[in-house]
């Protein structure tokens, strides 16, 4: 491994880190040992009230590795959540002294290959922005054209396009702002691409789910289609988050999953309150050209006869007296 090959050679650097392990200050020392504390007799003075006067010192051990030792403080050294009195520090070890996080590196440290961190984030700038807006424009114009039964009117197309563009600009602007605050660059083009993809996918999903439902008589495809939309939105948020910071993919998956679960829950809840059923709609309403139909039709008499099955459920629901104040929680989850 590369780290094993790193040599410990002067000068030495002590780096004070921020919450996201970003370097806030870097101190250069030509020789060891380095004493650290809040006292002014130290080589490195920390302005931290929870750091002892003489807190720790850094020197080199017999094996030639950097070592950090505690000099008798109340809190000592904390490494990975555990208190230690001394430890051998690697270039990537972050040690906590009081409330200060720090890292020690020597001139022998070789930084990681810079391309690794930028994997997947190179897709940024004007190109993705234009691709995204183009996809969005095509999809919006198509849906307006499909819904238009009146004479062609340029204005309606332009207004709709302007509205959609304004919306995605605003949305990606917010993410770009957050991006700028947290990691220093905006990545506006990439955020724009992400939201455009999501919106196009939502439209495509609507058509596909409707088509499948119509063609194969699979009504549940549209009855619960909103959950797929929620999933698309959650995925979009995941990509926004990883654009801001590539360091915590697992945490972001968790956030996106949480968002999806909460979103789906809210969809179910509002469906129930509105119509008394968990489905998004009472019935599948997509009608496509009849040539697409693949599954068999049911005889009309049989269909009406099957409606008989609703009777028992209705008679049961009838007796559940409606209380004007009854909420879904009062009624359903008792």
């Amino acid at each position: 491994m590369m780290k094993d090959q790193m040599q410990v050679i002067a000068p030495y650097f002590v780096e004070l880190l921020g919450r996201h392990d970003e370097v806030k200050t870097r101190y250069r020392f030509e020789q060891l040992p380095i004493s650290i504390g809040s006292g002014y007799a130290n080589d490195l003075i920390l302005d931290d009230t929870s750091v002892a006067n003489y807190h720790a010192s850094i020197d080199i051990n017999e094996a030639g590795n950097l070592r950090m030792r505690e000099l008798g403080s109340q809190q000592g050294l904390v490494y990975q959540g555990k208190r230690v009195s001394a430890l051998t520090v690697d270039a990537n070890h972050v040690v906590k002294l009081g409330g200060t996080h720090l890292r020690i590196r020597s001139a022998g440290y070789i930084a990681d290959n810079p391309t690794i961190n930028n994997t997947g984030l190179a897709f940024d700038g004007i190109v993705p922005a234009i691709i995204g807006l183009l996809m969005l424009a095509i999809s919006s114009l198509l849906s307006i054209w499909l819904a238009s039964t009146d004479k062609f009117s340029m204005a309606s197309y332009l207004f709709a396009l302007a509205a959609v563009f304004a919306l995605v600009m605003l949305w990606s602007g917010c993410w770009a702002f957050a991006n700028r605050v947290i990691s220093g660059n905006t990545r506006f083009g990439r955020h724009l691409f992400i939201v455009s993809c999501a919106l196009v996918m939502i439209d495509v999903w609507k058509v596909i789910s409707g088509l499948i439902a119509y063609t194969f008589s699979l009504e549940f495809m549209t009855a619960y289609a909103n959950h797929a939309t929620v999933l698309i939105v959650a995925t979009m948020v995941f990509f926004h988050l990883t654009t801001i910071s590539y360091q915590h993919p697992k945490r972001f998956i968790g956030i996106a999953a949480m968002l999806a679960i909460v979103g789906s829950g809210l969809v179910l809840l509002s469906n129930y309150q509105r119509s008394g059923s968990l489905a998004d709609e009472l019935y599948m309403s997509y009608l496509f050209p009849p040539e697409l139909r693949q599954s068999q039709n049911q005889p009309a008499d049989e269909f009406v006869q099957n409606a008989e099955q609703l009777k028992d459920k209705l008679d049961k629901a009838r007796l559940e007296k409606t209380d004007s104040n009854a909420s879904i929680f009062g009624q359903d989850f008792q």
């Binding site: 819904a147 509105r274 059923s277 019935y283 009309a300 009406v304 609703l310 209705l314 009838r318």
Partner: protein
């Protein structure tokens, strides 16, 4: 589309704006009473009552109507809709009467007839014998004078003069047309002939007409009085439920006893029913520039059975909408008909009287056509065995023409709901039946 503008004349306090507005128009001004009216009023006034429905909590009045004492008994005739709150919600409401001298007392419900909108109540005083309901009822001739009595708008007791104009069968149960002023609050009051014989009971008026009012014929009062004397009711809600069941049986039998009449709509033949009770109206988009043709037929009954303010039942409605692409391609036509198919309401989950709708949906075929069909049913919380049926279909036989039909049957039994739905669904056909039937028979 024509909307029904019939109001029941029980005066509910929170409706006062509506009636105040109506009050300002010349149509509701009472004509100057003749000397005959003066004589009648002074003879009848002792047996004339105002019936109030009060909230038990606080005894504030919730609605007011009128009533009249029969003979020398303590029985009072009024409208069902005046006392409907006591029937539907006896825990919260109670009745009170006030006579022309300002004396008041309690009211006890004895019998109800929700179909004819009548109720009999018992009060703590006797009549003087002015209003008689004899076995031989007065024969009315068109144009003869009639007088309605009651307490309009809670302003004080009044009499209004008008004339008899025949038996109207627009509702399910015949009503007399009285061309005279009846105002809110006069509901349940008597309507008498010049010689003081009871002709009917004030019940409603048309808001879109001038002085077009309706009376319940006195024969139904006579029938209900017999019930009240012989077997007074205890559970009125149950009685109402039974009466509604009887009503829907007669209604469905009436609709289904002969086949639906078929109207042609584009290339389709659609079932409708036109009768005294049910009127059909057509509409179309009439726009030469439109990219599609739209034609529709709406058939609905002009009246329903009033059960409570939120609940009017016993109605059948039929609607057919025909869409044909003129310049639209099949894709955009699909979007158009999908939108139209989507815009159907079957009620929501907030209705206190009915359950949330439960639906079955399927692609189906009758002998002539393939459809997308949806059937939604709701049950009534208060009335066992009564349901609202909605059947909604869209043809799936042609990429550029579409027929969407809807049948609503409110307040029917489950069997009747299925029966009318099945008949309706099977009646929708292509115009050229013979050709298509042979095609469909093919195994």
């Amino acid at each position: 589309m024509k909307y029904l503008k019939l109001v029941l004349l029980c005066w509910v306090m929170f409706q006062s704006e509506v009636f105040a507005a109506a009050d300002a128009t010349p149509q509701t001004q009472l004509p100057t009473p003749s000397s005959r009216a003066q004589t009648l009023y002074s003879a009848a006034r002792d047996d004339l009552l105002q019936i109030r429905v009060l909230l038990k909590n606080g005894r504030t009045q919730s609605s007011v109507g009128s009533g009249f004492l029969i003979g020398t008994s303590n029985l009072v005739v009024t409208n069902y809709h005046v006392v409907s709150q006591i029937v539907m919600n006896p825990e919260s409401y109670e009745g009170q009467f006030v006579d022309t001298h300002g004396v008041s007392g309690n009211v006890q419900l004895l019998a109800v007839d929700v179909l004819h909108d009548l109720a009999i109540v018992k009060v703590s005083r006797q009549g003087t014998g002015y209003f008689q309901i004899p076995d031989d009822l007065p024969k009315l001739t068109q144009g003869q004078y009639l007088y309605s009595l009651g307490n309009p708008l809670d302003l004080g007791f009044a009499i209004s003069e008008g004339s008899y104009n025949g038996l109207i069968k627009r509702g399910f149960y015949g009503q007399l047309m009285f061309t005279g002023a009846i105002n809110a609050g006069m509901s349940g009051g008597p309507n008498i002939t010049e010689d003081g014989r009871v002709a009917g009971v004030n019940v409603s008026k048309r808001l879109d007409g001038e002085l077009v009012s309706f009376l319940v014929p006195v024969e139904y009062v006579r029938n209900l009085l017999k019930v009240a004397k012989n077997s007074p009711d205890v559970d009125f809600k149950k009685t109402v439920g039974q009466q509604l069941l009887t009503h829907q049986n007669a209604l469905i039998a009436n609709v289904l006893n002969e086949p639906f009449s078929l109207k042609s709509l584009g290339k389709y033949q659609v079932p409708v029913r036109e009768s005294d009770q049910m009127r059909c109206w057509g509409r179309s988009n009439d726009n030469k520039d439109s990219s599609y043709d739209f034609n529709a037929v709406d058939c609905s009954m002009e009246s329903a059975i009033y059960v409570s303010d939120q609940l009017q039942v016993g109605q059948i409605a039929i609607r057919h909408e025909y869409l044909k692409a003129r310049e639209l391609d099949s894709l955009r036509f699909s979007v158009l008909i999908s939108q139209s198919f989507k815009n159907e309401s079957f009620g929501n989950n907030k209705d206190k009287n009915r359950t949330a709708p439960m639906c079955k949906e399927q692609f189906v075929s009758n002998a002539s056509l393939p459809f997308r069909a949806v059937i939604c049913v709701r049950a009534y919380h208060e009335f066992e065995g009564l349901y609202d049926f909605s059947l909604f279909t869209a043809t799936t036989d042609d990429r550029l023409t579409n027929l969407q039909s809807r049948l609503d049957a409110n307040g029917v039994s489950y069997d009747n709901g299925l029966r009318i739905s099945r008949t309706f669904l099977n009646e929708i056909a292509l115009g050229n039946q013979s050709r298509v039937t042979s095609k469909a028979v093919k195994p």
